[in-house]
């Protein structure tokens, strides 16, 4: 699903990622760990093609990202489900409208949008909150809306960038549990960035560790170190 070969990304003189190589198979659930500034978000932004690498190659679902044209970029992104630490919800749109956004941008039929949003909200347990606005929700609920928005278009790859970073431990565990359920149910590939040791250690899944922009460890059933 994702193959990174010797990817380097620099911001001026600062190397955010240096010569990073890894691959993630379809259907895997992978934790991406490391301290703040280790390069986790840069990897997500590169996969989202929000950034371009200075060197190296990144292939996602058969798309060579460095060769992706501006025209094809929106179509490529529709196969991804990004979840952000700061939620990135539109404040003047209701929960329903926020969740339906990925389907609206691909001009889905209103009937299909209705059915898909209803299912996504049911999966995250927010059916009764659909008419509320983000300012009326708690942190955990906001992250659930963001997850519903990420899964509504049935993406091949979920990219969760520290989705529990702003949440209390109990809510954080419920969010990861939700992501695990989605992964099992929809067979979606999930890459989740986190520096929450408790969560990583609880599931015993593959862990890729980054330190100062370098990939230092890649263990199939890893622990947070």
């Amino acid at each position: 699903m994702v193959t990174a070969r010797n990817v380097t990304k620099k911001f001026g003189n600062i190397t955010a990622l240096g010569d990073v190589s890894f691959s993630v198979d379809a259907g895997e659930f992978v934790f991406l760990t490391g301290a703040s500034g280790s390069g986790k978000t840069t990897i997500f932004r590169l996969i989202l093609r929000d950034l371009k690498p200075n060197s190296g190659e990144l292939v996602v679902d058969g798309h060579h990202l460095s060769r992706l044209s501006t025209r094809d970029l929106p179509h490529y992104r529709r196969h991804l489900g990004p979840i952000f630490q700061d939620f990135k919800l539109l404040p003047d749109r209701s929960v329903w409208e926020n969740v339906s956004l990925p389907l609206e941008v691909r001009f889905a039929k209103p009937g299909d949008v209705f059915a898909a949003v209803k299912i996504a909200l049911q999966m995250v347990g927010l059916s009764d909150r659909s008419s509320l606005f983000p300012s009326q929700l708690s942190g955990g609920e906001l992250q659930r809306v963001a997850i519903a928005r990420a899964i509504v278009g049935k993406p091949k790859l979920l990219l969760a960038d520290e989705p529990t970073g702003n949440l209390d431990p109990k809510t954080a565990r419920s969010i990861v549990s939700l992501l695990k359920d989605i992964h099992s149910e929809l067979k979606t590939t999930v890459i989740m960035a986190t520096h929450n040791a408790d969560i990583v250690n609880r599931y015993g899944l593959r862990v890729i560790t980054l330190e100062n922009g370098k990939l230092t460890k890649d263990t199939p059933k890893g622990k947070y170190e």
């Binding site: 501006t70 929106p74 539109l90 003047d92």
Partner: protein, 292 residues
């Protein structure tokens, strides 16, 4: 299109205070532009009024009574130049009548004059006063014309004045239109800037450039359209309110009274201008935040 329009309308509706302030600024700017435009149009008409007043007087020899064919021949030759605004033939009888009117208080002068003593003449005004000399020169060549007169000094002073006033008007109106463009572009730009994050999110969700841009263009057009309607409405109300006052001096020149058709043309122009500038503002501002 309906989806884009819905999104644009939703954005206006859900940020009512921002919308109101932006609309107020756009309306006031367009109101100011409308007043400048109407003022410029009135000034143009006033200048035209004064420019067409000066005329060339060509007098036939006193012993000649020109035939109507002769007068028509001169008229057609002059009009073929395309410079003539108005052509009038004053017969010997007309001249006597005018003379009598002018000297009605002096019976002695009236008794001594008959129509045969007065020359028939032509009064010719030009579309452009600068062309009066050309018309005068041509009239001098016509058969039977004895004398051609026009107040050359006064005419050239008038030309200098009208040219200066016109240049100043064009400069003022152009600067006002430029200011209108800048203000509307800035207002729409500020609206789009406040939604910079939304543009990023939409793009990350897989929205095409046109999907992101179209509602912002429509939003800008809506501002322009509504702002133009409000500006025109205020102008028309102000005009109706001040008509009794303006009738005492400006509307003494009937051409200056703006007809309903003219006002509708102004409305049409404003709606087109407002919508185009608003739409352009939306497009330019959105393009700044679109990542390729």
């Amino acid at each position: 299109m309906n989806k884009y329009f819905k999104t644009a309308w939703q954005r206006l509706r859900r940020t009512p205070y921002q919308t109101l302030i932006s609309l107020l600024v756009v309306s006031l700017t367009l109101f100011s532009a409308t007043v400048f435009f109407l003022d410029a149009a009135a000034a143009h008409k006033i200048l035209r009024f004064f420019e067409t007043r000066p005329q060339v007087n060509a007098f036939f020899k006193a012993d000649i009574t020109p035939t109507s064919q002769q007068v028509e021949l001169i008229r057609s030759r002059l009009e073929s130049t395309g410079l003539v605004e108005n052509f009038k033939y004053i017969s010997k009888e007309d001249a006597l009548r005018i003379y009598k009117e002018l000297n009605s208080t002096d019976p002695l002068l009236l008794e001594a004059v008959t129509s045969n003593m007065l020359p028939a003449s032509l009064e010719v005004s030009a579309k452009d006063p600068a062309q009066l000399k050309t018309l005068a020169d041509q009239l001098k060549k016509e058969e039977g014309i004895e004398e051609v007169r026009f107040a050359e000094d006064v005419v050239f002073t008038l030309i200098r004045w009208t040219r200066s006033v016109r240049t100043a008007r064009i400069a003022l109106t152009s600067s006002q239109i430029f200011i209108t463009f800048i203000v509307i572009l800035s207002v729409i730009g500020a609206r789009v800037t406040s939604r910079k994050e939304e543009i990023t999110i939409l793009q990350l969700m897989g929205a095409t450039r046109s999907f992101v841009t179209a509602p912002f263009i429509l939003e800008g057009m809506l501002y322009g359209f509504l702002g133009a309607s409000i500006a025109w409405g205020i102008t028309y109300l102000a005009f109706l309110y001040s008509t009794p006052f303006l009738s005492t001096f400006i509307f003494q020149i009937p051409e200056l009274y703006p007809t309903p058709v003219f006002m509708l043309e102004v409305l049409g122009g404003e709606l087109i201008l407002g919508s185009l500038v608003g739409g352009l503002g939306g497009l330019l501002a959105t393009r700044r935040f679109l990542k390729s």
